[in-house]
Symmetry: D2
Subunit: 256 residues, 4 copies
Amino acid sequence: MASNRIRVTVWNEFRHEKKNAFIRQIYPDGMHKAIQSALAKNDDLSVRTATLDEPEHGLTDDVLNQTDVLIWWGHVAHAEVQDAIVDKVQKRILEGMGLIVLHSGHFSKIFRRMLGTNCSLKWREAGEKERLWVVEPSHPIAQGLGEYFELPHEEMYGERFDVPTPDKVVFISWFEGGEVFRSGCCWERGFGRIFYFRPGHETHPTYFDPHVQQVIKNAVRWAAPAFYGTHPCPNAKPLEEIRSVDTAKTKAGVLQ
Amino acid sequence: MASNRIRVTVWNEFRHEKKNAFIRQIYPDGMHKAIQSALAKNDDLSVRTATLDEPEHGLTDDVLNQTDVLIWWGHVAHAEVQDAIVDKVQKRILEGMGLIVLHSGHFSKIFRRMLGTNCSLKWREAGEKERLWVVEPSHPIAQGLGEYFELPHEEMYGERFDVPTPDKVVFISWFEGGEVFRSGCCWERGFGRIFYFRPGHETHPTYFDPHVQQVIKNAVRWAAPAFYGTHPCPNAKPLEEIRSVDTAKTKAGVLQ
Amino acid sequence: MASNRIRVTVWNEFRHEKKNAFIRQIYPDGMHKAIQSALAKNDDLSVRTATLDEPEHGLTDDVLNQTDVLIWWGHVAHAEVQDAIVDKVQKRILEGMGLIVLHSGHFSKIFRRMLGTNCSLKWREAGEKERLWVVEPSHPIAQGLGEYFELPHEEMYGERFDVPTPDKVVFISWFEGGEVFRSGCCWERGFGRIFYFRPGHETHPTYFDPHVQQVIKNAVRWAAPAFYGTHPCPNAKPLEEIRSVDTAKTKAGVLQ
Amino acid sequence: MASNRIRVTVWNEFRHEKKNAFIRQIYPDGMHKAIQSALAKNDDLSVRTATLDEPEHGLTDDVLNQTDVLIWWGHVAHAEVQDAIVDKVQKRILEGMGLIVLHSGHFSKIFRRMLGTNCSLKWREAGEKERLWVVEPSHPIAQGLGEYFELPHEEMYGERFDVPTPDKVVFISWFEGGEVFRSGCCWERGFGRIFYFRPGHETHPTYFDPHVQQVIKNAVRWAAPAFYGTHPCPNAKPLEEIRSVDTAKTKAGVLQ
């Protein structure tokens, strides 16, 4: 039944794929389409895409209000994302929508907005081997992966990753060149869940990797909200009788 | 020795005290001056003040660069704080400066910026009794306070307080009217420490209370950085030989 | 289908109900039976009970191996629980079984074993009013409860509650006599989830309260494992060639 | 002034050094003496040692009561440590004493007692290279270390490390053979701080390494308590008038 499906929107900057022939060979329709195809095989997921150059970046009120989990890939055009859209996405996350940030999305406006930090890290594009170790085998995002999985060629991201201490670190990466990285990190903000997943450099076919697809699928299910709510700031009536009258204030006739 | 002192800047919106005679009677020179006086009694602290209506809100580059801990009180004029100043304060916190947010500062731009959430809560101005329970007796911010302390008349703040789960909740408040609140909350962002302390409504002489002064003094010492650092994003040379050459990519002559 | 049900075992010390006529009037068959009846109304739960005076306290290997979530109530006879049984329960929790500890179970051997702390607190039996505030409205354990719920008469538990900082505090209690308490606390240990829920003094009909029953039902579903696993300590073969031979050690002919 | 010094006790199982000539060549007086010598160079530290085969394992009431930070190394004789001593050490930690657990101490009774988990991990004795990355540069335990440090030959420990999610992970290790490990982990239990530090296999001169010595020194200062306290469970008088009399209970004449 469609109404029970988790509604996923895969957002992609979609610039590398248009401008670079090598990257286009890997992702002819863009990374968002590769991720959409992988997710759409699951009956419990209903998946659409949105990209930077669509009106409102494809994230209209309508789309956002019908999105349970938003996946975000960006890199060279973070600055082009309008602040007004970031405001809306933030509000929707605080109300319950899940957010999955991929790879170079660590520097996106929305990720930094949600976390409050710089989100910087070390990097190297050497196409080296990455091995992702499962640190939390019982976590929903780790299901079906075994003790570790490998990507033959990836960009390196190394610590110090400047983020608030995650609630859970699900994966830690080992890189051939000698670095480590907290590659799968969970946070909660407001009523929304946030997952950062490291792999996915545009020059490697990472989003076709079955382990990577498994992680993203698991993360979508983990981040999907069972609860939506708002954040009012109400003037509350007392539930108990208040007997500590502030006579000084009363005498002065102070009105609030 | 002056150079070893913790350099504190007490920032106050300073509007209520100017406009309201009853409040001015309590804080003739503004809440910032009351807090400064209390802190300045400690030889290890060097305390200045800054207010909204000064140029750059009193937070010039010079002042920020010489501030180890920034204390923040705001209420009716949050929106008047310039975003460019908030950017600078955020950067300085991520580099190590401590931030102590007081009472209605929960809705300040800088607090919401650092935490990423709405920071909403319930409230009631009935001048009721508040009792703050020490939940973490061994925490530096709890030293010298005993099991609890009371404020005879305060504004009520009630849960749900929409903030990221604190690293530590040092105080939980009991209110006469029936609510509870996480009144002393610790977080870390970047290299900086953040403390939120609930009490301090402008119509009560809260900042003259010796327990409240003790908490702020403790919090200043806790938030003072031993370490300052920046958040670069360097391209890192490999520390180990990389043998997993991505031949597809090499053949295509891809340049990063 | 029975095999998909969450298998719950409600463990009760079952002493007060036998010895005290007033308590027996409230819980003629014991608190475990009241809790079992409430939970058994849910089709997804399969609920049995076990008590201290049964052989192996009713927690045979068979029972434990068929328990997904164990609920624990104890008070006057914590010391009579055999360490060998506690060992088995701990092992099962680390492998994935959920544990829900109720009220005076805070001093049970199993709770202290899992948390490593003393688990002490303040208390008072005055039959006062307790109001439990929902601090995490989006948490699975808070579903269906609204902003708060009240118990007209309960024993008071007050802070400092000596437990490791919970991953999440779902409820904070306000007590009429002036105290507060973290009344709903979540932790993870090994692959198992642990929830502490404060209410349930034997002289009050607390486990007949619909809100309390809702919390326990929610907690069972939250604590039920999707994953079971063991904790081996394997000697691991290298995944990469090791070239840093320790010649000093090799020469000495050291055997591991 | 001696009375202001942090009083450190370095506890060592001290068996390998006696039985194995190769190990004795590295640590002629035992690992505890090497650690003591390194720490004793610091004027703010007063350092003694204790070993398994001394009466009460060298941990008499007197010694424990005069220890602010206890360092623990054990491996082949964990089972020989008496439970009664473990009880006393646990009590002292909960009252404020710091605990630093080294390397194979992960399977010690005291570490498992404090954490409640199995503390298992992967291991390999291949004398491979270990690189420890500083994940929290602003943490007191990371001071003076730079971005990473290396040990030319160490035993490998690999994830999954079965411990409760640490409050802070200060170091993550990269191993030549392809694994990663959370090598510097912080927790708090009761009023005490606990630090686990991975390196220190008995067949390598690890405790002579200046970076390792720096970490242990930093950890001692971090774990030293500013506060000692006990964990009573008092019957508390109400602070507010209780008006919700439980008439049913009163009528029945129930006494608590």
